[in-house]
């Protein structure tokens, strides 16, 4: 009887006040999130002083992060070089019609592996002009996801790598167009005909957000008789270590679940 009463009460409150429970939970989570970040920072800093192995590991992680950021910059530069002329023409025509971009910064309060579904909870919401569908960028400028739910002072972001998500991408210098499927944990896979398969290290772009790459090809697997190669890639930045994101409030990017195998974008 008590269980039935609890169920009815929860459903009734959620139905009458759809955002009330989330806002309550978000308010409770804020000090916990700050505590988690503080504890995490303290533990890692103690480890670097006490253990030489720990300090080397930390330094290694830092260098890897720097290297991935440099790789992203390098890929961006290469793409810029090859497309410079075309972009100049595009920019000239877009400047006449497009509205100026507006960006909002937000801290990440919940991220994988603490949250499931490859989603983030961020500390900015509709009060900062964020709306459903706004693209979300990491601090190196990579578009990593879109706004899925908005509350007055917080929002939920679904990453492109979320299982059940598909995005249209172009791969490598051949600009082969295909659909990348999110696999969770910041990873993607896509099937490409063996004849058009990219090389390891080739950049993958979402055309709307080019020249900043979505990721870099990490592995290509195909048997000798296979027509298609399974290509895996992941975000240049580690999603488990991100602290801040940028939200482009002037654009909307719609991602559809994998059942339809489509992803579209619009500019408003």
């Amino acid at each position: 009887m008590l269980v039935f009463f609890v169920c009815v009460l929860l459903v009734a409150i959620q139905w009458l006040f759809p955002s009330a429970f989330f806002r309550l939970l978000y308010t409770i989570s804020t000090p916990f999130s700050a505590l988690r970040d503080a504890i995490g920072g303290e533990i890692s800093s103690i480890g670097t002083f006490v253990s030489s192995k720990g300090s080397l590991a930390a330094k290694n992680a830092e260098l890897e992060k720097d290297l991935s950021a440099i790789n992203v910059q390098l890929l961006s530069m290469q793409a810029l070089e090859s497309e410079n002329q075309a972009l100049k023409n595009m920019v000239a025509s877009k400047q006449a019609t497009a509205s100026p971009a507006k960006y909002t910064f937000a801290a990440i309060t919940e991220r994988p592996p603490f949250s499931p579904y490859d989603s983030l909870i961020i500390s900015s919401g509709s009060a900062e002009g964020i709306t459903i569908g706004n693209p979300v960028m990491s601090d190196d400028g990579t578009a990593i996801g879109t706004i899925e739910e908005v509350f007055p002072s917080s929002a939920k972001v679904v990453l492109f790598s979320s299982p059940g998500t598909a995005v249209n991408v172009t791969v490598g210098n051949k600009k082969f167009e295909t659909t990348a499927q999110g696999q969770g944990g910041g990873d993607f896979t896509m099937k490409i005909p063996v004849s058009d398969a990219p090389k390891q290290g080739d950049a993958v772009y979402i055309p709307t957000f080019a020249p900043t790459p979505l990721g870099v090809v990490e592995s290509i697997s195909a048997g000798p008789t296979d027509a298609f190669a399974l290509v895996s890639f992941s975000y240049p930045e580690n999603i488990f270590e991100m602290s801040f994101v940028t939200i482009d409030t002037s654009r909307h990017f719609q991602v559809t679940p994998t059942t339809t195998h489509e992803a579209t974008s619009t500019r408003q």
């Binding site: 929860l10 499931p116 579904y117 739910e149 679904v158 998500t165």
Partner: protein, 85 residues
Amino acid sequence: MKQRVLVNSAILASFFLLPWWFAGLLAVASLFIVKDFWEILVWGFAFDIFYGLHGGAHDTFYWGTTIALILYAASVPIRKRISIS
């Protein structure tokens, strides 16, 4: 009563401080520690509300609430069989 408060406090802390699955495991274990642990429904529902995606292109099912309901229902005969007070 003291045990109930302690268990729920531990779940609350792990819900916001640790990976989501840890709080889930703790809630399941609590079914066999605390008698008539109906709070698992609240935690399942809280999981769906806080982490679930609703209203946009992705609409996740209320897995937390559903699994909590099934586990709660299943825990009653299991507790009787394994003679936990």
